[in-house]
Amino acid sequence: MSKGTASAIVKAWLAALWLAISSLGIASASEQLCEKDLAPGAAFTRSALIDLVHEDFAIGRLDLVRDKLYRAYDASLTNAERLRPEVDIFLLRLKRAYESVPQQWTLQRVQRPEGAEALFSADAANRRVVFNCLELGDSRPEEYLQNMVSIAFLMQKILLPRWNVEDKKRFDLLSARLKNHEDLLKNGLPMWPWELWLNGKRLGENDTSALPGTQIIVMRPSVGLEINTRSREKADLEGSLLVEPIGMIWYRKPDFSDWIGVSALVTSSTRQGMGYGVLVRYGRYTAGLTRHKSDRGGDDTYLTVSFDLYDLIEKKRETFSADRDRLKSSAKELFNKLP
């Protein structure tokens, strides 16, 4: 036998084998039912089903795809098979396939009954197609069941493009909301625990609702400088403890990095005692006016200035104290240079 003839025989043999396998409808290794390769009838192999529906699928006519699959499966059933409850469930699902989502058409190993596999997720009445693989032993499920699973696998892919379009919107929404929340925690005006608690109570019930564009300020302590506007010789650049009993900020950027706000203000310093007034906030900077009891009778008005020091801390936590002292002396120098 010549080399060429031998090669031709091998090729012919392989082709015959391939045809035999194709006609049996053996599917790829990932397509299994009860731990054996899926073996639908010749008309229900994946390639046969694709041939049947690909034109309608290409033009987005899922209704026609469904109708063709329904008719093909219905026509393949014997009278006895048509009376089986699982066929009834499947045909009902197939009829409504257009309203379903791909993940409803998966086959999964279930826990109850043990060793079983099930097509579709259970509903309250547990109406799904269950394959009791343990009972089957070495035998395969019947062909009408293999055909059913083959159609279900194809249906996952038929419904997938439309599903992905919708799912992308959801993913975009979740990602956007996640970014909003992380931005607020990272870039927004940091909240003391009680502020974080209170502002959390303002969120809507749904996690994907937009965040409020405002933030409530409550009992917020910070450090500022108070300057007596009447008497420069009494100017005291010692830090005062400012407490904002109540206030509000309005965020001006979607990434929560900029805001304006207004708050009631109470100050406490060692020399001037308690003061009260109003504070306005512009980004990291704040300015306010407070009234303190004057030594000369009546009230003195103080200018209060401050900025959020935690930014500095973030940059240089170790050198923060030195930076703060340097900043304070610079402010004092600047003030003294004023005419």
């Binding site: 060793g115 996952q156 959801r170 993913f171 302590p221 936590r317």
Partner: protein
């Protein structure tokens, strides 16, 4: 397409690659896989896509903010006594984040602060939804051949509550009416690329497809999970979602296709407020009582048990067949998996009894305070061991 398995951690700090750390769940599963011939000695990553979910950095972000706020007041905080006390406390908490977390501080942040809880839920939700979406886009690229990947989620301790809440966030995501604001804040196609979810090429293909699609969304979309495993369930105490994903339905179908709840008879965490199994046709509870590590509550300790890892393998790996399940069942009946074994096998009887007593001492139902006491007790056991 490979199944995708998500691991969601509990309390404590979890760095990158925490799942493959020596006490991580993947390490425990890799070790367990060596017992079964069907895996031919290959690791878990050969059979499934592993996704570890992290959210503890959000807690750190909040604690960092508090520490900075406290520091920013400096010595003037002393002017008002309550401010001084608060700043001292926050400074202490911020400076000892790991300790705070080990004693259940994460639980307090999650349950006590809605804004933090929501950020955590959104983080986990976006991660799970994004990873599944990415695979579905890849599956679409295969045309009409192939099948969809299976989705398996394993939550541990606090992670059980977080993942339940996050899944509810996914299925209740509601966007009609908010599209305009969303579009303003969202440069449409760039998002998926920026987040590493899609390649540029995939995003371009997707844009074309999206342009030709006519479907329009009017109600929340479902999200089907093939198996949700909950180890050391804390849902009754910690979960704070407005709905229950475990029984959520789409067109009468349960979106969570099957549920496995695992409790350890000697783990006090799942006893503080026991989880009641939902009314679900494929919900199963597994009870284990092996003692192979001082930290009976550990993620890896749970997964090391044949009844537990076999359940996961069965759900996610086709190669793990019924005969392998039978092998795992047989293994689970051995004394090693019903008592002392592993690291603890060498303990003398007196120490065994003492450990049991200490764990029994932590048992009991209660509230969040009780849970914090339990975490503290467990931490003591983990660090100090049995005297």
């Amino acid at each position: 397409m490979k199944s995708v398995v998500f691991f969601v951690h509990g309390i404590g700090r979890h760095g990158e690659n925490w799942s493959t750390a020596p006490d991580g769940p993947v390490t425990a599963l890799d070790k367990a896989m060596k017992r079964y011939t069907c895996f031919e000695g290959k690791p878990l990553s050969e059979f499934v896509d592993i996704v570890e979910v992290r959210y503890d950095d959000l807690f750190d972000l909040v604690l960092d903010n508090w520490e900075k706020l406290a520091d920013s007041l400096g010595p003037v905080a002393g002017n008002i006594p309550w401010v001084a006390k608060v700043t001292s406390l926050l400074d202490d908490v911020g400076g000892n984040k790991n300790r705070f977390a080990d004693f259940g501080g994460d639980v307090l942040l999650y349950r006590g602060f809605d804004l933090v809880a929501r950020a955590v839920r959104l983080r986990v939700a976006a991660m799970i939804a994004g990873e599944v979406f990415r695979r579905n886009v890849a599956a679409q690229g295969e045309g009409l051949s192939g099948t969809l990947p299976k989705v398996v989620i394993v939550g541990h301790s606090m992670g059980t509550a977080v993942v339940r809440d996050a899944l509810w966030a996914i299925v209740s995501a509601s966007f009609p009416g908010d599209k305009a604001t969303l579009k303003e804040k969202l440069p449409e196609e760039k998002w998926l690329v920026d987040l590493g979810m899609l390649s540029e090429e995939q995003a371009q293909k997707f844009a074309v497809m999206e342009g030709t699609a006519s479907a329009s969304q009017s109600s929340p979309l479902p999200f089907f999970v093939d198996r949700l495993m909950m180890l050391a369930n804390t849902i009754p105490l910690i979960s704070c979602a407005s709905g229950d994903y475990l029984t959520a339905k789409f067109q009468n179908d349960f979106q969570c296709k099957s549920i496995t709840n695992v409790k350890h008879e000697l783990d006090p965490v799942c006893r503080v407020k026991p989880f009641e199994m939902p009314n679900h046709p494929d919900a199963v509870e597994i009870s284990i009582e092996h003692l192979h590590d001082r930290n009976v509550h550990g993620f890896a300790h749970y997964l090391s048990h044949p009844s537990v890892h076999a359940n996961l393998f069965r759900a996610a790996i086709n190669e793990f067949k019924l005969k392998d399940l039978a092998e795992a069942r047989k293994l689970a009946t051995q004394s090693e998996w019903n008592g002392i074994g592993g690291k603890l096998a060498e303990l003398v009887d007196a120490k065994k009894a003492e450990l049991r007593n200490r764990l029994q001492g932590l048992m009991g139902e209660g509230d969040l305070l009780k849970l914090a006491q339990v975490f503290k007790g467990l931490q003591g056991l983990k660090n100090g061991g049995v005297a």
